[in-house]
Symmetry: C2
């Protein structure tokens, strides 16, 4: 039921969106200061003369990460970055973080401190203070829960996912599919290692995709850019689950349709090479891969030039709801935009 | 590393306090708005003209709860109450909550909704808004992470654990040991059930202790009482781990000693009966049991009468550090106050 509905019931027969909707329908907000609740990347509460954006994420071993090939320092960094990305999607810079861990009996103190090295590095890089948390043991796997918050003075600069308008241009901040492809490479090498324990993982030529999987960064730079250029996107969401799924969230909650031009979706050169090597369609990876931690946002067409000059890519346009959500193929054919609902890790 | 250092490494060889201290020593606070960090029940940040108190807890199956005898609705209620208790210990009323779940494959949607029934009931009873969270699946047990926050306008009414002064009276808000004894009864009935599956649990005559274990309440009433009577305790902490352990936290962080009069520690009549039945010393239970979710606070002696009239119990006095932390026995002998470090559930 995450504010951004990031669920990964890989091993479950529970329909996560049904569950979120049921919880949402039973939730009654009593305090007028709470102006945004369960249905966005972060909740927004008015505190004094500021608006507090707060978000929380949970990561479990075997579902979101595999310690066979994920160094604990990288995991600590990534858990923080994933949560930063949620706040950034509200156009807010995060300031504080709380971390709770349930530590498995396989782990010793050095393991936990390795995890924290990643947390501290992310705190340093993103100007965050670690102000609290909880630790417990776990009878089974390692579990991480991260809560992050930051604030905004100007209410009008907060950006939600349900405010895209017909005619807005759809932009993305970077390229897509690489984190998913990096995961496939790591899984392949793990399989080889399990079958041939004497082998060494071969990660040459996969720097970019493996880096995007193991050490992603969050696009906090975009908050500064928008402020400096006095631009407020009409809607925004972070890409943790997959580009198509996130665009569909914007459209559904904004009650609009869209046209997405597939050939305009940025895909890194190495991602194209790796997807060919693995025999996966690169566009399918880009649309469904997830974990890229880039942002999708919509903006008034008047900002087109400055946004393109900044290096963002325009990949489509917001349409009337009755037009539906569509992908425009290379040959200009139209087909319905769907999320394949891949249960990506993290 | 919880703000209140509630750790339960039952199955681990990690020294939790060593870990917390190491994390704390590596934590550098960059934002001047953060006025209280890892070393209290909740962190405090200045937001606009208000002071935000925020705390987080993690609960794992098999460590903090046993679903054999814990109804999911009760668990939902208790997870929220435990976190409310943290904020209350700062003399702040909680306002908002975020819940993250990692759901095991044994659970279906109805199980999750049963858990949320308890969450919603606690939100109703304690005037809280559920504003966000995250859901994920878990390869193994059920894990719950709760983050709670509230605010205070007047900085001087915030209460920490490191500000007790020599000569202050030590008060408690209720009785101790019952939650632990309730747990022992539930564990005993579980054992009987596992050996004799045809048997029915016998919980007659254990209403109070089992109720304190399965459906605890948090002492938010005390925040209203202090406000109404214009009293600010000199220090406060909630009793989740055990009374002696919490008093020692206050003394250590305030750099003071104490005398605790054992005969003054309130113990419920049923707790005395049950402890006799189980052959456990009731004072040992009261000092080490944990999960009572009462509060220990210190106050200037001038407030003695009004606090006693309110039904709080004075159990001792804050002394100079050089006097040490002592228990005064029935025969007036003095012995060092120690925490047995029982790893209580939750």
């Amino acid at each position: 039921m995450n504010q951004k509905e990031k669920t990964s019931y890989k091993n479950s027969h529970i329909d996560e969106f049904e569950l979120i909707n049921e919880i949402k329908s039973l939730t009654k907000t009593k305090h007028k200061e709470n102006i945004k609740g369960i249905d966005d990347d972060a909740a927004i509460s008015k505190y004094g003369d500021k608006y507090l954006a707060i978000s929380t994420d949970i990561f479990t071993e075997g579902i979101h990460f595999d310690l066979t090939y994920t160094p604990l320092k990288h995991l600590g960094y990534k858990c923080v970055v994933a949560n930063i990305s949620d706040i950034t999607a509200m156009n807010v810079l995060p300031k504080n973080i709380l971390i709770s861990l349930a530590v498995s009996s396989k782990m010793n103190k050095e393991h936990v401190m390795d995890f924290y090295k990643g947390v501290f590095l992310a705190c340093e890089n993103y100007n965050l203070d670690l102000i609290g948390g909880d630790t417990s043991s776990s009878l089974t796997g390692f579990t991480v829960s991260v809560t992050i918050f930051g604030d905004k003075k100007n209410k009008n600069q907060l950006v939600y996912r349900n405010t895209a308008k017909e005619g807005d241009i759809i932009f993305v901040t970077g390229d897509f599919g690489a984190a998913y492809l990096g995961l496939q490479i790591l899984e392949r090498e793990k399989k080889i290692f399990l079958e041939h324990p004497e082998s060494q993982p071969n990660l040459n030529n996969y720097d970019y995709v493996v880096g995007r999987q193991l050490k992603p960064e969050a696009r906090t730079d975009i908050v500064d850019f928008f402020k400096k250029n006095k631009i407020t996107p009409t809607s925004m969401i972070d890409v943790s689950d997959g580009l198509s799924s996130e665009i569909l969230h914007i459209c559904k909650s904004s009650n609009v349709g869209c046209d997405i031009h597939l050939k305009k979706i940025p895909i890194h050169e190495e991602s194209i090479k790796v997807s060919q090597e693995l025999g996966i369609d690169e566009i399918t990876c880009a649309l469904n891969g997830g974990e890229d931690y880039e942002l999708v946002f919509t903006a008034n067409p008047k900002h087109l030039n400055i946004l393109l000059n900044q290096g963002f890519s325009s990949i489509g346009v917001i349409k009337n709801k009755k037009d539906g959500c569509n992908m425009i193929l290379e040959n200009n054919d139209k087909t319905e935009l769907k999320s394949m609902g891949w249960s990506n890790k993290l």
